[in-house]
């Protein structure tokens, strides 16, 4: 098992495997986005309270979910790189940050664009919104820290520690709507007693969430491949791959 993992994590193997997977993952991503958007914009009904503004939710919720997912990947990969000195893990952590920051930015902005007509305000300092904003700053701090430290190993170590410290924010974001009295509504899908949402809305929401998920892995693999090439540019396998 350990042997298998080591082989999987070896840069040349991963580089080739990712290269073979990317076209398939990209195609699946495109199909998921097409079907998800079709459902989100055409077949799903307007909400009886929110009207057509509910369609923002099909972008907002997947972006928010993935902002947490990408952070957890970044922190776990960073920890693996820290403990076992696996270069691939470090490349994964670094690749996860920019996509995750993009998701966080989208969750915040689309939430704002939904909040203005529905709540009557662009922004409130409630626990959910504030902790998600903190998540954006954690991502930006992580990216900035990596860019600021010249030595690759030191940059990886310092940024992994930052990511691990910031991971406490993830359960805070998730449970903020239960622990505090927030203007942001509570969980609708991942809650005890099952999703409190009609299938006509749940299906496009899940399709969009899957689309965001596959998209994330496409970008992740793409970035990891570039990172591996650069890091290993003096090795024979890179020479072989490029020739």
């Amino acid at each position: 098992m350990l042997d298998f993992l080591h082989r999987m994590a070896s840069p040349p193997h991963f580089y080739r495997l990712a290269g073979r997977l990317l076209p398939w993952l990209s195609a699946i991503t495109a199909l998921l986005f097409l079907s998800g958007l079709w459902g989100a914009l055409f077949t799903s009904p307007p909400d009886y309270q929110q009207g057509e503004s509910v369609r923002i939710i099909y972008v907002h919720v997947p972006a928010a979910w993935m902002s947490l997912f990408a952070y957890v990947v970044m922190a776990v990969a960073g920890a693996i790189g820290l403990v076992w000195r696996i270069r691939l893990a470090d490349a994964v952590a670094a690749a996860s940050a920019p996509v995750g920051a993009g998701f966080t930015f989208l969750a915040l902005v689309t939430g704002s664009l939904w909040g203005k007509p529905m709540w009557g305000t662009w922004w409130v300092w409630d626990a959910r919104l504030t902790s998600e904003l903190l998540l954006l700053f954690l991502y930006l701090g992580y990216i900035g820290l990596r860019a600021a430290i010249e030595d690759r190993r030191n940059a990886a170590r310092a940024s992994a520690i930052l990511a691990l410290v910031g991971v406490v924010n993830i359960p805070i974001i998730h449970f903020s709507v239960e622990w505090w009295n927030t203007l942001h509504q509570g969980a609708t899908v991942f809650r005890s007693g099952g999703p409190a949402i009609d299938p006509s809305m749940l299906l496009p929401l899940l399709l969009m969430a899957l689309a965001f998920n596959f998209y994330y892995f496409v970008v992740l693999l793409l970035r990891v491949r570039t990172e591996l090439l650069l890091e290993e540019r003096r090795t024979n396998w890179v020479r072989e791959v490029l020739s």
């Binding site: 057509e52 503004s53 920019p98 993009g102 989208l106 007509p117 793409l222 020479r239 490029l242």
Partner: protein, 53 residues
Amino acid sequence: MREFLQMGGYGLYVWTSYGLAALVLILNLVLPWQRHRRVVRELRGRLQREGSL
């Protein structure tokens, strides 16, 4: 069509959301892709100069 674009009066909010999402997702895909191609080109050029290809 017009009705669809108006989104029951929420058109500005809905389309700004979808537009920004498209912009961010496309940039986050295209920029790394271009970078990958640039890195491959540069590394290939360096290897050729070194005469190892």
